[in-house]
Symmetry: C2
Subunit: 163 residues, 2 copies
């Protein structure tokens, strides 16, 4: 699973939304958000292709002024890529802090009524078998099993010192 750079995300998002886009249209759409030259977008497109995230198809309908207009489409669903990248990102974080990170997200990410209901359902299920605490997995000899306190501010001198 190749990593996706921020610039590549911008392009990929558009492809997912449009489902099928020509380079021409893609460049136009991107330019409403970034002051990138057409070449830049093409480069990103090429890189996304070598990474396997997009592929091209011939457009049967050769729209007037677009000779050999190829059409780009994503090879994977938006959700699956997002899930994979998100999990990958979380893998950098100590297990003990993933829960709190999630709490932060749940407080800040835009959620719909349905999202909330889904989350509640999952939490209810997970509550049945959740451990009382998640130990640190930093593999540096630390035996911390913290976060039992109200806001992990117990032994966390560090937490208080945040700039």
């Amino acid at each position: 699973m190749d990593s996706i750079s921020p610039a590549e995300w911008s392009v990929l998002r558009i492809i997912w939304t449009e489902k099928h886009v020509t380079a021409r249209r893609l460049i136009a759409l991107v330019s409403s958000q970034h002051a990138w030259s057409a070449s830049t977008v093409k480069t990103l497109l090429a890189r996304l292709r070598t990474k396997g995230y997009v592929r091209t198809l011939r457009s049967d309908a050769t729209t007037s002024q677009s000779p050999r207009a190829w059409v780009y489409e994503a090879t994977m669903s938006e959700s699956s890529v997002i899930n994979a990248q998100t999990s990958d990102f979380f893998s950098h974080i100590c297990a003990m802090h993933q829960g709190p990170a999630l709490i932060h997200l749940v407080q800040t990410v835009p959620l719909s009524q349905k999202n909330i209901r889904d989350l509640q359902k999952i939490l209810e299920k997970r509550a049945a078998s959740a451990p009382s605490s998640v130990p640190c997995d930093c593999e540096c000899g630390c035996a911390q099993t913290a976060e039992t306190g109200t806001n992990e501010a117990t032994q966390t001198d560090e937490v208080t010192s945040h700039a």
Copy 2:
């Protein structure tokens, strides 16, 4: 807020866990996870310092064989850095898909009983004012408010072909 590379995360995690570490000890701890040379760790340390994530202090106690043993410590709390980086990561994702991404995380991330209770409390609160749906914010003219409907492939077709 500078980005933190995967290699830098490894080092930073150890510093947070240890609170105060000498280069010597840090290198020893890192080597239990990665086959990096001492130089590599020092470089990462230096980069983390220029990025402002760690700083050095003199160790008053000059432990026998460690002359001028500096001690590294994090300048920011682990939680605040994690939250900032996590939010930054989510900013690449279309608003409409952030909820689902969160659902995926809540299903896979290790959670303690307390984490779950906290999450439930927050969700309950948020449910009071959550919108019925979160619209796409890909800024590419899409008016999708999906995740309720199954096929939003209505006007997409026309949009694609008009070049």
